[in-house]
């Protein structure tokens, strides 16, 4: 005889340890099972797009730092590529390599955060997170060396990067790559095949490729769904056409694959960095003839995109000939990846919900902008 129970509606977030910032889900539970999900956003809305209309092209770089604050370098890169497209210029080769290199470093840092918090949400008491942060800290140190800041880097400029790396950056990078290879092996040993992790994530919340494409999901989540699509391969920007790497693709489409794809992407990023270091040559790092205050011609528009750590990050810029973009639309991967929350969460349990949300790896700075 079924016992009459009533569903209950619970707010998960905005003040919840596992919602990646101030994100709110209104969830209807039946016991521990999820019946309905409604994501509620906007707690971190700062109006970046409106602010960008009030700043000149270089000043907008500082805004992009604050979108996805775990991968500022890649945001910088996406924006600068869009402006360069708008102007029809290309940065010098050394700048391209530098950008690729720091973007990959940032991708490692961002994936480490994603994976670390993913395991944290699985309930490991901090250890994997601390190990991930230990390595991430070294990357941030390298960024500090490069541009004087750790998170809000503002390193890139339309037409290159603001300054060449200091001479002591290169030995530090080599040392880091050496140490990180060891640390990452350790990290993989700790986690990659852990049975508890496997039973918790294997087969949970699968996202079929059709669904992923229809929902415009991008980045590691799309690749974990079995779609081999990486803008670095498909539309190579900066120096990505000069380096070799593989695109890891998931086969089960589940939480474990999303985690696995990120782990493998870190390995590929390490490959790319090594190739960049080997190939980079002295030369200018910034277009000399580009003035500080940029004025693209009126009516020009460009959609610049990169494969950011969370997915396809695009800047759609429209110019009216002024010193500030007329419109700066940010196609943020985190926001659009959230479209699948309902599909991923409904029917699963409370504990899986947190993990699935973590596996999508959203960043509220980017979702709300």
């Amino acid at each position: 005889m079924p016992i009459r129970t009533e569903p209950m509606t619970v707010n998960v977030g905005p003040q919840h340890p596992s919602t990646h910032g101030v994100f709110r889900l209104r969830i209807t539970f039946d016991g521990e099972e999820i019946l309905e999900v409604e994501p509620i956003l906007g707690y971190l809305h700062r109006g970046s797009e409106k602010l960008a209309e009030e700043r000149n092209y270089v000043q907008v770089v500082t805004l992009t730092d604050r979108l996805d604050y775990t991968s500022s370098m890649i945001n910088n890169q996406a924006y600068c590529l869009a402006v360069e497209k708008l102007l029809g210029v290309e940065p010098p080769l050394r700048a391209k390599f530098l950008r690729t290199l720091v973007a990959e470093l940032q991708r490692i840092a961002s994936h480490l955060v994603a994976v670390g918090f993913f395991i944290q949400e699985l309930g490991a008491f901090g250890t994997p997170l601390m190990y991930a942060f230990r390595s991430r800290e070294r990357i941030l140190d390298l960024f500090e060396m490069l541009c004087g800041a750790r998170i809000t880097v503002s390193y890139m400029r339309p037409g290159g990067v603001f300054a060449d790396a200091p001479p002591d950056f290169w030995p530090a990078l080599t040392q880091f790559m050496h140490d990180f290879a060891i640390e990452f092996n350790e990290f993989e040993q700790l986690l990659l095949e852990n049975e508890i992790l496997l039973v918790r994530t294997r087969g949970v919340s699968p996202l079929p490729p059709e669904m992923a494409i229809n929902c415009s999901v991008s980045g590691p989540v799309l690749r974990a769904s079995g779609v081999n699509w990486d803008w670095r391969k498909m539309d190579p920007y900066d120096a990505y056409d000069k380096v070799e790497f593989d695109v890891p693709v998931g086969s089960h489409w589940d939480n474990y694959d999303r985690f696995w794809v990120r782990m493998q992407e870190v390995r590929q990023s390490m490959r790319i960095i090594d190739q960049c270091v080997a190939q980079i040559e002295p030369g200018p790092v910034r277009l000399v003839d580009l003035p500080l205050v940029i004025r693209p011609e009126a009516g020009a528009e460009a959609y610049g995109r990169v494969e950011a750590s969370k997915g396809e990050l695009g800047f759609y810029l429209v110019s009216d000939g002024g010193i500030a973009p007329y419109r700066c639309k940010i196609r943020s991967p985190s926001l659009i990846n959230l479209t699948v929350t309902e599909h991923l969460l409904v029917g699963w349990k409370l504990a899986d919900m947190i993990v699935s949300l973590g596996s999508v790896d959203i960043n509220m700075g980017e979702v709300d902008r």
């Binding site: 956003l41 906007g42 809305h45 109006g47 797009e49 409106k50 494409i213 229809n214 929902c215 415009s216 999901v217 779609v227 699509w229 391969k233 498909m234 539309d235 190579p236 056409d241 959609y303 995109r305 396809e312 695009g314 759609y316 429209v318 007329y326 419109r327 639309k329 196609r331 926001l335 659009i336 959230l338 479209t339 709300d368 902008r369």
Partner: protein
């Protein structure tokens, strides 16, 4: 190295004219301007046509050009590996309604809600046309040029 190529406006316009007469308003180098009222139809055609196969909607943007709003759809076909830009002009300032492409690409869900929230263009057929970034009851649409 694989490369994604952009479809030219001419190509797109030609295909669209064949299948959906009078849907195209204008075409420029690599973009095609379509009738805003028929955007959902156009979208379904672009997605389901074998040769075009635009299954991936990159982004939906709205730009306020004061006398009109431009809706910009960036599309990609993952299989054919080409991209396209489809645009629509929406004239007026108040009570703007455009058919939603939610039923074609669910990826438009949050972006259309965001456009309604920040630009004030309503999408007919969207099941959950609420404000997304700002709270219900917020007055005005902040990304419009006349919002200060």
């Amino acid at each position: 190295m694989m490369q994604v190529k952009a479809l030219s406006g001419d190509q797109l316009a030609e295909r669209l004219e064949q299948a959906l007469p009078d849907s195209v308003v204008d075409k420029i180098s690599d973009e095609v301007w379509v009738e805003p009222a028929r955007i959902a139809e156009v979208a379904r055609f672009l997605k389901e046509d074998e040769d075009l196969d635009f299954q991936f909607l990159n982004s939906v943007s709205a730009v306020d050009f004061i006398e009109y709003f431009a809706l910009v759809y960036h599309l990609t076909s993952l299989r054919k590996q080409h991209t396209a830009i489809v645009k629509a002009k929406v004239y007026g300032r108040d009570e703007l309604v455009v058919p939603s492409v939610y039923q074609v690409w669910r990826g438009a869900d949050f972006q259309e809600r965001e456009i309604w929230d920040l630009m004030g263009i309503r999408f007919a057929g969207h099941p959950n046309m609420k404000r997304i970034m700002l709270w219900e009851g917020f007055e005005g649409h902040p990304l419009r040029k006349d919002y200060l």
